[in-house]
Symmetry: C2
Subunit: 302 residues, 2 copies
Protein backbone atom coordinates (compact mmCIF):
# COMPACT_ATOMS: atom_id res chain seq x y z
CA UNK A 1 0.00 0.00 0.00
CA UNK A 2 1.38 3.40 -0.99
CA UNK A 3 1.36 6.41 1.28
CA UNK A 4 -1.39 8.97 0.96
CA UNK A 5 -1.14 12.67 1.76
CA UNK A 6 -3.39 11.87 4.74
CA UNK A 7 -0.36 10.11 6.23
CA UNK A 8 1.58 13.40 6.50
CA UNK A 9 -0.28 14.81 9.52
CA UNK A 10 -0.14 11.35 11.06
CA UNK A 11 3.66 11.14 10.73
CA UNK A 12 3.93 14.48 12.49
CA UNK A 13 1.70 13.18 15.27
CA UNK A 14 3.79 10.01 15.56
CA UNK A 15 7.03 12.00 15.67
CA UNK A 16 5.68 14.15 18.50
CA UNK A 17 4.41 11.16 20.45
CA UNK A 18 7.73 9.33 20.10
CA UNK A 19 9.69 12.47 21.01
CA UNK A 20 7.68 12.78 24.20
CA UNK A 21 8.04 9.08 24.89
CA UNK A 22 11.82 9.68 24.70
CA UNK A 23 11.34 12.53 27.21
CA UNK A 24 12.58 15.17 24.80
CA UNK A 25 12.01 18.72 26.07
CA UNK A 26 9.80 21.09 24.06
CA UNK A 27 12.70 22.58 22.10
CA UNK A 28 13.90 19.12 21.11
CA UNK A 29 10.33 18.09 20.26
CA UNK A 30 10.09 21.04 17.93
CA UNK A 31 13.45 20.21 16.33
CA UNK A 32 12.13 16.69 15.71
CA UNK A 33 8.97 18.08 14.10
CA UNK A 34 11.10 20.38 11.92
CA UNK A 35 13.27 17.49 10.74
CA UNK A 36 10.17 15.38 10.12
CA UNK A 37 8.61 18.14 8.01
CA UNK A 38 11.84 18.49 6.03
CA UNK A 39 11.73 14.74 5.42
CA UNK A 40 8.09 14.84 4.32
CA UNK A 41 8.81 17.53 1.77
CA UNK A 42 11.03 15.07 -0.13
CA UNK A 43 9.08 11.86 0.39
CA UNK A 44 8.25 9.95 -2.82
CA UNK A 45 4.56 9.05 -2.90
CA UNK A 46 5.49 5.55 -4.06
CA UNK A 47 6.80 4.75 -0.56
CA UNK A 48 4.78 2.61 1.81
CA UNK A 49 3.85 4.33 5.10
CA UNK A 50 6.20 2.18 7.23
CA UNK A 51 9.14 3.15 4.99
CA UNK A 52 8.54 6.75 6.01
CA UNK A 53 7.67 5.78 9.59
CA UNK A 54 11.06 4.10 9.76
CA UNK A 55 12.80 7.36 8.83
CA UNK A 56 10.64 9.40 11.21
CA UNK A 57 11.48 7.18 14.17
CA UNK A 58 15.13 7.22 13.15
CA UNK A 59 15.03 11.03 13.45
CA UNK A 60 13.55 10.71 16.95
CA UNK A 61 16.20 8.22 18.05
CA UNK A 62 18.96 10.36 16.57
CA UNK A 63 17.82 13.68 18.04
CA UNK A 64 17.03 12.29 21.48
CA UNK A 65 19.94 9.86 21.70
CA UNK A 66 17.35 7.37 22.97
CA UNK A 67 17.56 4.17 20.97
CA UNK A 68 14.43 2.64 22.45
CA UNK A 69 11.94 5.26 23.63
CA UNK A 70 9.19 2.66 24.06
CA UNK A 71 11.29 0.24 26.16
CA UNK A 72 9.36 0.83 29.39
CA UNK A 73 5.99 0.75 27.62
CA UNK A 74 6.92 -2.51 25.92
CA UNK A 75 8.02 -4.14 29.17
CA UNK A 76 4.84 -3.01 30.90
CA UNK A 77 2.68 -4.22 27.99
CA UNK A 78 4.30 -7.63 28.13
CA UNK A 79 3.84 -7.87 31.91
CA UNK A 80 0.17 -6.90 31.63
CA UNK A 81 -0.44 -9.33 28.81
CA UNK A 82 1.26 -12.18 30.67
CA UNK A 83 -0.98 -11.50 33.64
CA UNK A 84 -3.97 -11.94 31.29
CA UNK A 85 -2.67 -15.11 29.70
CA UNK A 86 -4.60 -17.61 31.89
CA UNK A 87 -7.84 -15.77 31.24
CA UNK A 88 -7.20 -15.73 27.48
CA UNK A 89 -6.52 -19.47 27.56
CA UNK A 90 -9.83 -20.01 29.35
CA UNK A 91 -11.63 -17.94 26.71
CA UNK A 92 -10.31 -20.13 23.91
CA UNK A 93 -11.47 -23.24 25.77
CA UNK A 94 -15.09 -22.05 25.78
CA UNK A 95 -17.67 -23.44 23.36
CA UNK A 96 -17.57 -22.71 19.66
CA UNK A 97 -14.89 -22.72 16.98
CA UNK A 98 -11.69 -22.72 19.03
CA UNK A 99 -9.48 -21.69 16.13
CA UNK A 100 -11.74 -18.75 15.37
CA UNK A 101 -11.75 -17.75 19.02
CA UNK A 102 -7.95 -17.90 19.08
CA UNK A 103 -7.80 -15.75 15.93
CA UNK A 104 -10.12 -13.22 17.53
CA UNK A 105 -7.98 -13.11 20.66
CA UNK A 106 -4.87 -12.55 18.53
CA UNK A 107 -6.65 -9.61 16.89
CA UNK A 108 -7.69 -8.33 20.31
CA UNK A 109 -3.97 -8.12 21.13
CA UNK A 110 -3.64 -5.87 18.08
CA UNK A 111 -6.47 -3.69 19.28
CA UNK A 112 -5.92 -3.13 22.91
CA UNK A 113 -3.53 -0.36 23.71
CA UNK A 114 -1.68 -2.25 26.39
CA UNK A 115 0.19 0.86 27.40
CA UNK A 116 -2.81 2.75 28.74
CA UNK A 117 -5.72 1.60 30.84
CA UNK A 118 -5.38 -2.02 29.82
CA UNK A 119 -7.78 -3.53 32.30
CA UNK A 120 -10.62 -1.23 31.30
CA UNK A 121 -10.00 -1.55 27.56
CA UNK A 122 -9.55 -5.27 27.85
CA UNK A 123 -13.00 -6.07 29.22
CA UNK A 124 -14.67 -4.05 26.52
CA UNK A 125 -12.19 -4.78 23.73
CA UNK A 126 -12.12 -8.54 24.21
CA UNK A 127 -15.87 -8.81 24.60
CA UNK A 128 -16.43 -6.80 21.44
CA UNK A 129 -13.90 -8.68 19.35
CA UNK A 130 -15.12 -12.08 20.46
CA UNK A 131 -18.54 -11.27 19.01
CA UNK A 132 -17.92 -8.66 16.30
CA UNK A 133 -18.41 -10.01 12.77
CA UNK A 134 -15.33 -9.98 10.51
CA UNK A 135 -15.55 -7.21 7.89
CA UNK A 136 -13.40 -9.43 5.65
CA UNK A 137 -13.54 -13.08 6.58
CA UNK A 138 -11.27 -15.53 4.78
CA UNK A 139 -11.47 -18.03 7.63
CA UNK A 140 -12.52 -20.92 5.38
CA UNK A 141 -9.55 -20.29 3.06
CA UNK A 142 -7.28 -19.95 6.08
CA UNK A 143 -8.44 -23.32 7.39
CA UNK A 144 -7.84 -24.93 3.99
CA UNK A 145 -4.38 -23.36 3.82
CA UNK A 146 -3.65 -24.63 7.34
CA UNK A 147 -4.62 -28.16 6.36
CA UNK A 148 -2.22 -28.04 3.39
CA UNK A 149 0.78 -26.32 4.97
CA UNK A 150 3.56 -28.02 6.91
CA UNK A 151 4.66 -24.94 8.83
CA UNK A 152 3.79 -21.31 9.38
CA UNK A 153 5.71 -18.06 9.27
CA UNK A 154 4.09 -15.62 11.71
CA UNK A 155 5.03 -11.93 11.26
CA UNK A 156 4.68 -10.30 14.67
CA UNK A 157 3.59 -6.77 15.53
CA UNK A 158 3.82 -5.16 18.98
CA UNK A 159 5.27 -6.18 22.33
CA UNK A 160 2.51 -7.42 24.63
CA UNK A 161 0.44 -8.38 21.60
CA UNK A 162 2.96 -11.24 21.42
CA UNK A 163 1.16 -12.97 24.31
CA UNK A 164 -2.11 -12.84 22.36
CA UNK A 165 -0.27 -14.26 19.34
CA UNK A 166 0.91 -17.08 21.55
CA UNK A 167 -2.73 -18.02 22.19
CA UNK A 168 -3.25 -18.39 18.45
CA UNK A 169 0.02 -20.23 17.92
CA UNK A 170 -1.01 -22.73 20.62
CA UNK A 171 -4.27 -23.32 18.77
CA UNK A 172 -2.42 -24.14 15.54
CA UNK A 173 -1.15 -27.65 15.12
CA UNK A 174 1.82 -26.71 12.95
CA UNK A 175 5.36 -25.60 13.77
CA UNK A 176 5.57 -21.81 13.79
CA UNK A 177 8.44 -19.45 13.08
CA UNK A 178 7.74 -16.15 14.84
CA UNK A 179 9.48 -13.24 13.12
CA UNK A 180 10.11 -10.03 15.05
CA UNK A 181 12.02 -6.81 14.44
CA UNK A 182 15.82 -6.71 14.24
CA UNK A 183 15.95 -3.69 16.56
CA UNK A 184 13.66 -1.38 18.53
CA UNK A 185 11.14 0.76 16.63
CA UNK A 186 8.02 2.20 18.27
CA UNK A 187 6.54 -0.56 20.45
CA UNK A 188 7.23 -3.33 17.95
CA UNK A 189 8.42 -6.61 19.43
CA UNK A 190 12.11 -7.52 19.17
CA UNK A 191 13.61 -10.95 19.89
CA UNK A 192 14.15 -9.96 23.54
CA UNK A 193 10.49 -8.78 23.82
CA UNK A 194 9.19 -12.00 22.26
CA UNK A 195 11.30 -14.20 24.51
CA UNK A 196 10.20 -12.22 27.58
CA UNK A 197 6.60 -12.97 26.53
CA UNK A 198 7.34 -16.71 26.41
CA UNK A 199 7.09 -17.04 22.63
CA UNK A 200 10.28 -19.11 22.67
CA UNK A 201 8.26 -21.93 24.29
CA UNK A 202 5.81 -22.24 21.41
CA UNK A 203 7.67 -21.04 18.31
CA UNK A 204 11.07 -20.50 16.83
CA UNK A 205 11.67 -16.79 17.37
CA UNK A 206 13.67 -15.16 14.57
CA UNK A 207 14.59 -11.62 13.59
CA UNK A 208 13.59 -10.10 10.24
CA UNK A 209 16.95 -8.35 10.33
CA UNK A 210 15.23 -4.99 9.94
CA UNK A 211 14.23 -2.40 12.51
CA UNK A 212 11.68 -0.70 10.23
CA UNK A 213 7.98 -1.00 11.09
CA UNK A 214 6.09 -3.68 9.16
CA UNK A 215 8.05 -6.01 6.89
CA UNK A 216 10.01 -4.17 4.22
CA UNK A 217 11.49 -7.17 2.42
CA UNK A 218 14.30 -5.21 0.78
CA UNK A 219 15.45 -4.14 4.23
CA UNK A 220 15.34 -7.62 5.77
CA UNK A 221 18.26 -10.01 6.08
CA UNK A 222 18.97 -12.55 3.33
CA UNK A 223 18.19 -15.31 5.87
CA UNK A 224 14.77 -13.88 6.61
CA UNK A 225 13.97 -13.22 2.95
CA UNK A 226 14.81 -16.83 2.26
CA UNK A 227 12.44 -17.93 5.04
CA UNK A 228 9.73 -15.65 3.67
CA UNK A 229 10.12 -16.83 0.09
CA UNK A 230 9.92 -20.50 1.08
CA UNK A 231 7.08 -20.13 3.58
CA UNK A 232 3.95 -22.11 2.68
CA UNK A 233 1.67 -20.06 4.91
CA UNK A 234 2.30 -16.61 6.34
CA UNK A 235 0.28 -14.87 9.03
CA UNK A 236 0.95 -11.11 8.89
CA UNK A 237 -0.22 -9.31 11.99
CA UNK A 238 -1.30 -5.69 12.26
CA UNK A 239 -1.55 -2.65 10.03
CA UNK A 240 2.15 -2.08 9.27
CA UNK A 241 2.55 -5.61 7.91
CA UNK A 242 -0.48 -5.03 5.70
CA UNK A 243 0.91 -1.69 4.52
CA UNK A 244 4.25 -3.20 3.55
CA UNK A 245 3.07 -6.54 2.12
CA UNK A 246 -0.33 -5.87 0.56
CA UNK A 247 1.30 -5.28 -2.83
CA UNK A 248 3.68 -8.26 -2.61
CA UNK A 249 2.86 -10.21 -5.74
CA UNK A 250 5.09 -13.14 -4.75
CA UNK A 251 2.77 -13.85 -1.85
CA UNK A 252 -0.19 -14.15 -4.22
CA UNK A 253 0.91 -17.68 -5.06
CA UNK A 254 0.98 -20.09 -2.17
CA UNK A 255 3.53 -22.26 -3.86
CA UNK A 256 6.94 -20.79 -3.64
CA UNK A 257 8.60 -23.62 -5.47
CA UNK A 258 8.67 -23.28 -9.26
CA UNK A 259 8.87 -27.05 -9.43
CA UNK A 260 5.13 -27.39 -8.74
CA UNK A 261 2.92 -27.91 -11.78
CA UNK A 262 1.94 -24.62 -13.34
CA UNK A 263 -1.81 -25.30 -13.50
CA UNK A 264 -1.93 -26.03 -9.77
CA UNK A 265 -0.18 -22.74 -9.03
CA UNK A 266 -2.60 -20.88 -11.25
CA UNK A 267 -5.56 -22.38 -9.38
CA UNK A 268 -4.27 -21.31 -6.04
CA UNK A 269 -3.29 -17.90 -7.25
CA UNK A 270 -6.82 -17.19 -8.41
CA UNK A 271 -8.33 -17.73 -5.01
CA UNK A 272 -5.50 -15.91 -3.23
CA UNK A 273 -2.03 -16.58 -1.95
CA UNK A 274 -0.14 -17.90 1.04
CA UNK A 275 -0.34 -14.66 2.99
CA UNK A 276 -3.10 -13.95 5.53
CA UNK A 277 -3.48 -10.52 7.08
CA UNK A 278 -4.87 -10.43 10.59
CA UNK A 279 -5.68 -6.99 11.92
CA UNK A 280 -7.96 -4.47 13.43
CA UNK A 281 -8.49 -1.52 11.07
CA UNK A 282 -7.53 1.60 13.01
CA UNK A 283 -6.73 4.14 10.31
CA UNK A 284 -9.02 5.65 7.65
CA UNK A 285 -6.37 5.39 4.92
CA UNK A 286 -5.91 1.66 5.49
CA UNK A 287 -9.69 1.30 5.75
CA UNK A 288 -10.06 2.74 2.26
CA UNK A 289 -7.24 0.61 0.89
CA UNK A 290 -8.37 -2.69 2.38
CA UNK A 291 -12.08 -2.00 1.88
CA UNK A 292 -13.27 -2.34 5.47
CA UNK A 293 -14.35 0.38 7.90
CA UNK A 294 -12.27 1.78 10.77
CA UNK A 295 -12.97 -0.31 13.87
CA UNK A 296 -13.59 -3.51 11.93
CA UNK A 297 -11.64 -6.75 12.27
CA UNK A 298 -10.17 -8.46 9.26
CA UNK A 299 -8.83 -11.88 8.31
CA UNK A 300 -7.86 -11.31 4.69
CA UNK A 301 -6.06 -13.56 2.28
CA UNK A 302 -3.39 -11.54 0.45
Amino acid sequence: MKIYLDCFPCFLRQALEAARMARADEERQRAILDRTMALLRDVPLESTPPEIGDRVHRIVRQLTGNNDPYAAVKAESTREALRLYPRLKALVAEDGDRLERAIRIAIAGNVIDLATGVSFDLEEGLERILHQPFAINDLAAFKRALSEARSILYLADNAGETVFDRILIEALSLPVTYAVKGGPVINDATVADALAAGLGEVAEVVSTGSDAPGTILSRCSAEFRNLYERAELIIAKGQANYETLSDDASARSNLASPLEPRDKRADVSEEGGRLFFLLKVKCPVIARDIGAPVGSIVLKRG
Copy 2:
Protein backbone atom coordinates in the same frame (compact mmCIF):
# COMPACT_ATOMS: atom_id res chain seq x y z
CA MET B 1 -4.56 30.22 24.56
CA LYS B 2 -1.15 29.65 23.00
CA ILE B 3 -0.49 27.05 20.35
CA TYR B 4 0.93 23.67 21.37
CA LEU B 5 3.12 21.40 19.27
CA ASP B 6 0.08 19.10 19.12
CA CYS B 7 -1.48 21.72 16.84
CA PHE B 8 1.16 21.10 14.13
CA PRO B 9 -0.25 17.77 12.86
CA CYS B 10 -3.71 19.29 13.11
CA PHE B 11 -2.78 22.27 10.90
CA LEU B 12 -1.48 19.85 8.30
CA ARG B 13 -4.75 17.93 8.46
CA GLN B 14 -6.74 21.14 8.13
CA ALA B 15 -4.66 22.30 5.16
CA LEU B 16 -5.28 18.99 3.38
CA GLU B 17 -8.99 19.06 4.11
CA ALA B 18 -9.33 22.63 2.87
CA ALA B 19 -7.23 21.88 -0.24
CA ARG B 20 -9.57 19.03 -1.09
CA MET B 21 -12.58 21.17 -0.35
CA ALA B 22 -11.19 23.61 -2.94
CA ARG B 23 -10.90 20.65 -5.36
CA ALA B 24 -7.12 20.94 -5.64
CA ASP B 25 -5.53 17.98 -7.44
CA GLU B 26 -3.01 15.82 -5.62
CA GLU B 27 0.01 17.78 -6.82
CA ARG B 28 -1.56 21.03 -5.63
CA GLN B 29 -2.55 19.39 -2.34
CA ARG B 30 1.04 18.41 -1.82
CA ALA B 31 2.27 21.91 -2.65
CA ILE B 32 -0.16 23.24 -0.04
CA LEU B 33 1.18 20.79 2.54
CA ASP B 34 4.75 21.84 1.68
CA ARG B 35 3.93 25.52 2.13
CA THR B 36 2.13 24.75 5.38
CA MET B 37 5.15 22.86 6.70
CA ALA B 38 7.43 25.75 5.73
CA LEU B 39 5.10 28.06 7.65
CA LEU B 40 5.08 25.81 10.71
CA ARG B 41 8.86 25.79 10.86
CA ASP B 42 8.84 29.53 11.58
CA VAL B 43 5.75 29.77 13.76
CA PRO B 44 6.29 31.52 17.11
CA LEU B 45 4.86 29.41 19.92
CA GLU B 46 3.32 32.53 21.42
CA SER B 47 0.74 32.60 18.62
CA THR B 48 -2.82 31.47 19.23
CA PRO B 49 -3.94 28.54 17.06
CA PRO B 50 -6.36 30.65 14.98
CA GLU B 51 -3.54 33.07 14.11
CA ILE B 52 -1.75 30.16 12.45
CA GLY B 53 -5.00 28.71 11.08
CA ASP B 54 -5.56 32.05 9.40
CA ARG B 55 -2.21 31.77 7.58
CA VAL B 56 -2.79 28.13 6.68
CA HIS B 57 -6.14 28.86 5.07
CA ARG B 58 -4.63 31.87 3.32
CA ILE B 59 -2.10 29.48 1.73
CA VAL B 60 -4.96 27.25 0.55
CA ARG B 61 -6.88 30.17 -0.93
CA GLN B 62 -3.74 31.50 -2.61
CA LEU B 63 -2.58 28.20 -4.11
CA THR B 64 -6.02 27.10 -5.28
CA GLY B 65 -7.27 30.51 -6.39
CA ASN B 66 -10.47 29.61 -4.54
CA ASN B 67 -11.41 32.38 -2.17
CA ASP B 68 -14.20 30.45 -0.46
CA PRO B 69 -13.64 26.68 -0.60
CA TYR B 70 -16.40 26.04 1.92
CA ALA B 71 -19.06 28.14 0.13
CA ALA B 72 -21.18 25.16 -0.94
CA VAL B 73 -20.83 23.47 2.45
CA LYS B 74 -21.84 26.67 4.19
CA ALA B 75 -24.92 27.15 2.00
CA GLU B 76 -25.95 23.53 2.55
CA SER B 77 -25.39 23.80 6.30
CA THR B 78 -27.58 26.88 6.48
CA ARG B 79 -30.33 25.23 4.42
CA GLU B 80 -30.27 22.12 6.62
CA ALA B 81 -30.30 24.17 9.80
CA LEU B 82 -33.19 26.32 8.59
CA ARG B 83 -35.15 23.14 7.87
CA LEU B 84 -34.59 22.16 11.52
CA TYR B 85 -35.54 25.54 12.92
CA PRO B 86 -39.21 24.72 13.74
CA ARG B 87 -38.17 21.57 15.55
CA LEU B 88 -35.54 23.47 17.55
CA LYS B 89 -38.14 26.08 18.51
CA ALA B 90 -40.43 23.31 19.73
CA LEU B 91 -37.61 21.83 21.81
CA VAL B 92 -37.07 25.14 23.62
CA ALA B 93 -40.77 25.36 24.38
CA GLU B 94 -40.73 22.06 26.29
CA ASP B 95 -40.72 21.94 30.07
CA GLY B 96 -37.75 23.02 32.13
CA ASP B 97 -35.42 26.00 32.11
CA ARG B 98 -36.04 27.53 28.69
CA LEU B 99 -32.91 29.64 28.72
CA GLU B 100 -30.80 26.61 29.57
CA ARG B 101 -32.47 24.61 26.79
CA ALA B 102 -31.76 27.42 24.33
CA ILE B 103 -28.12 27.51 25.46
CA ARG B 104 -27.85 23.76 24.96
CA ILE B 105 -29.34 24.03 21.49
CA ALA B 106 -26.87 26.79 20.62
CA ILE B 107 -24.06 24.44 21.71
CA ALA B 108 -25.62 21.64 19.67
CA GLY B 109 -25.16 23.87 16.63
CA ASN B 110 -21.47 24.01 17.51
CA VAL B 111 -21.29 20.26 17.75
CA ILE B 112 -23.15 18.92 14.83
CA ASP B 113 -21.11 18.76 11.68
CA LEU B 114 -23.81 20.12 9.45
CA ALA B 115 -21.80 19.30 6.38
CA THR B 116 -22.02 15.55 6.76
CA GLY B 117 -24.92 13.33 7.67
CA VAL B 118 -26.75 16.04 9.54
CA SER B 119 -30.04 14.25 10.07
CA PHE B 120 -28.37 11.24 11.65
CA ASP B 121 -26.00 13.24 13.84
CA LEU B 122 -28.77 15.60 14.82
CA GLU B 123 -31.00 13.02 16.48
CA GLU B 124 -28.14 11.72 18.56
CA GLY B 125 -26.29 15.00 19.02
CA LEU B 126 -29.29 17.05 20.10
CA GLU B 127 -30.59 14.36 22.43
CA ARG B 128 -27.19 14.03 24.07
CA ILE B 129 -26.61 17.73 24.48
CA LEU B 130 -30.08 18.38 25.88
CA HIS B 131 -29.30 16.01 28.76
CA GLN B 132 -25.51 16.01 29.10
CA PRO B 133 -24.26 17.80 32.25
CA PHE B 134 -22.08 20.87 31.68
CA ALA B 135 -18.41 20.14 32.45
CA ILE B 136 -18.08 23.82 33.35
CA ASN B 137 -21.35 25.46 34.26
CA ASP B 138 -21.42 29.21 34.88
CA LEU B 139 -25.14 29.40 34.14
CA ALA B 140 -25.97 31.16 37.40
CA ALA B 141 -23.34 33.83 36.71
CA PHE B 142 -24.56 34.10 33.14
CA LYS B 143 -28.12 34.71 34.35
CA ARG B 144 -26.91 37.36 36.80
CA ALA B 145 -24.90 39.03 34.03
CA LEU B 146 -27.97 38.93 31.76
CA SER B 147 -30.07 40.64 34.41
CA GLU B 148 -27.52 43.45 34.72
CA ALA B 149 -26.65 44.03 31.05
CA ARG B 150 -28.54 46.23 28.64
CA SER B 151 -27.32 44.54 25.48
CA ILE B 152 -25.26 41.61 24.28
CA LEU B 153 -22.42 41.16 21.82
CA TYR B 154 -22.60 37.64 20.35
CA LEU B 155 -19.45 36.37 18.60
CA ALA B 156 -20.58 33.87 15.99
CA ASP B 157 -18.85 30.74 14.79
CA ASN B 158 -19.89 28.63 11.77
CA ALA B 159 -22.51 28.99 9.04
CA GLY B 160 -25.53 26.82 9.84
CA GLU B 161 -24.70 27.04 13.53
CA THR B 162 -26.07 30.57 13.11
CA VAL B 163 -29.61 29.15 13.08
CA PHE B 164 -28.97 27.46 16.43
CA ASP B 165 -27.61 30.77 17.73
CA ARG B 166 -30.84 32.39 16.62
CA ILE B 167 -32.73 30.06 18.96
CA LEU B 168 -30.66 31.34 21.87
CA ILE B 169 -30.91 34.96 20.77
CA GLU B 170 -34.72 34.63 20.69
CA ALA B 171 -34.64 33.31 24.25
CA LEU B 172 -32.71 36.36 25.44
CA SER B 173 -34.69 39.46 26.25
CA LEU B 174 -31.94 41.92 25.35
CA PRO B 175 -30.90 43.50 22.06
CA VAL B 176 -28.12 41.46 20.44
CA THR B 177 -25.32 42.46 18.09
CA TYR B 178 -24.25 39.38 16.15
CA ALA B 179 -20.62 39.62 14.98
CA VAL B 180 -19.43 37.49 12.08
CA LYS B 181 -16.28 37.27 9.96
CA GLY B 182 -15.24 40.01 7.59
CA GLY B 183 -14.56 37.47 4.82
CA PRO B 184 -14.69 33.72 4.14
CA VAL B 185 -12.47 31.43 6.20
CA ILE B 186 -13.20 27.70 6.63
CA ASN B 187 -16.95 27.38 7.26
CA ASP B 188 -17.15 30.44 9.50
CA ALA B 189 -20.22 32.62 9.03
CA THR B 190 -19.89 35.90 7.13
CA VAL B 191 -22.49 38.67 7.01
CA ALA B 192 -24.05 37.09 3.92
CA ASP B 193 -24.21 33.68 5.66
CA ALA B 194 -25.79 35.18 8.77
CA LEU B 195 -28.38 37.10 6.80
CA ALA B 196 -29.21 33.98 4.76
CA ALA B 197 -29.86 32.22 8.07
CA GLY B 198 -32.30 34.95 9.13
CA LEU B 199 -30.13 36.41 11.86
CA GLY B 200 -30.93 39.88 10.57
CA GLU B 201 -34.47 39.42 11.91
CA VAL B 202 -33.36 38.95 15.52
CA ALA B 203 -30.07 40.80 15.83
CA GLU B 204 -27.94 43.52 14.35
CA VAL B 205 -25.49 41.61 12.18
CA VAL B 206 -22.03 43.19 12.05
CA SER B 207 -18.63 42.21 10.73
CA THR B 208 -15.56 41.90 12.94
CA GLY B 209 -13.62 43.29 10.00
CA SER B 210 -11.31 40.26 10.08
CA ASP B 211 -11.33 37.05 8.07
CA ALA B 212 -9.19 35.14 10.54
CA PRO B 213 -10.80 32.29 12.54
CA GLY B 214 -11.86 33.22 16.07
CA THR B 215 -11.63 36.84 17.17
CA ILE B 216 -8.12 38.23 16.89
CA LEU B 217 -8.78 41.71 18.25
CA SER B 218 -5.65 43.26 16.70
CA ARG B 219 -6.90 42.15 13.29
CA CYS B 220 -10.45 43.45 13.73
CA SER B 221 -11.72 46.83 12.55
CA ALA B 222 -11.60 49.85 14.84
CA GLU B 223 -15.41 49.90 14.78
CA PHE B 224 -15.64 46.32 15.98
CA ARG B 225 -12.94 46.79 18.62
CA ASN B 226 -14.91 49.72 19.94
CA LEU B 227 -18.05 47.56 20.09
CA TYR B 228 -16.11 44.83 21.88
CA GLU B 229 -14.54 47.17 24.41
CA ARG B 230 -17.87 48.75 25.30
CA ALA B 231 -19.88 45.53 25.41
CA GLU B 232 -21.42 44.78 28.81
CA LEU B 233 -21.91 41.09 28.09
CA ILE B 234 -20.21 39.01 25.39
CA ILE B 235 -21.16 35.50 24.30
CA ALA B 236 -18.22 33.87 22.49
CA LYS B 237 -19.20 30.79 20.56
CA GLY B 238 -17.01 27.83 19.68
CA GLN B 239 -13.41 26.78 20.12
CA ALA B 240 -11.68 29.41 17.97
CA ASN B 241 -13.24 32.26 19.94
CA TYR B 242 -12.05 30.59 23.14
CA GLU B 243 -8.56 30.14 21.70
CA THR B 244 -8.26 33.79 20.71
CA LEU B 245 -10.00 35.41 23.70
CA SER B 246 -9.24 33.18 26.70
CA ASP B 247 -6.23 35.32 27.60
CA ASP B 248 -7.99 38.65 27.04
CA ALA B 249 -7.51 40.41 30.36
CA SER B 250 -9.76 43.33 29.39
CA ALA B 251 -12.72 40.95 29.32
CA ARG B 252 -12.02 39.90 32.91
CA SER B 253 -13.73 43.07 34.06
CA ASN B 254 -17.36 43.40 33.10
CA LEU B 255 -17.17 47.14 33.31
CA ALA B 256 -15.44 48.57 30.33
CA SER B 257 -15.67 52.15 31.51
CA PRO B 258 -12.80 53.37 33.67
CA LEU B 259 -15.23 55.86 35.20
CA GLU B 260 -16.78 53.14 37.38
CA PRO B 261 -15.51 53.01 40.96
CA ARG B 262 -12.38 50.91 41.23
CA ASP B 263 -13.61 48.74 44.11
CA LYS B 264 -16.70 47.74 42.17
CA ARG B 265 -14.59 46.71 39.18
CA ALA B 266 -12.30 44.68 41.43
CA ASP B 267 -15.30 42.82 42.87
CA VAL B 268 -16.62 41.86 39.52
CA SER B 269 -13.20 40.86 38.26
CA GLU B 270 -12.82 38.37 41.08
CA GLU B 271 -15.86 36.39 40.11
CA GLY B 272 -15.10 36.66 36.39
CA GLY B 273 -15.69 39.07 33.56
CA ARG B 274 -18.20 40.03 30.93
CA LEU B 275 -17.18 37.27 28.53
CA PHE B 276 -18.97 33.90 28.42
CA PHE B 277 -17.59 31.05 26.33
CA LEU B 278 -20.14 28.65 24.94
CA LEU B 279 -18.70 25.57 23.27
CA LYS B 280 -18.39 21.88 22.83
CA VAL B 281 -14.83 20.72 23.56
CA LYS B 282 -13.65 18.86 20.48
CA CYS B 283 -9.87 19.00 20.72
CA PRO B 284 -7.53 17.52 23.36
CA VAL B 285 -5.35 20.63 23.49
CA ILE B 286 -8.30 22.90 24.25
CA ALA B 287 -9.58 20.28 26.70
CA ARG B 288 -6.34 20.54 28.66
CA ASP B 289 -6.34 24.33 28.50
CA ILE B 290 -9.95 24.84 29.56
CA GLY B 291 -9.95 21.96 32.06
CA ALA B 292 -12.82 19.91 30.64
CA PRO B 293 -12.70 16.63 28.74
CA VAL B 294 -13.10 16.21 24.97
CA GLY B 295 -16.79 15.71 24.22
CA SER B 296 -17.96 17.86 27.12
CA ILE B 297 -20.08 20.99 26.86
CA VAL B 298 -19.02 24.20 28.51
CA LEU B 299 -20.56 27.50 29.58
CA LYS B 300 -17.57 29.27 31.08
CA ARG B 301 -17.21 32.79 32.34
CA GLY B 302 -13.95 34.26 30.96
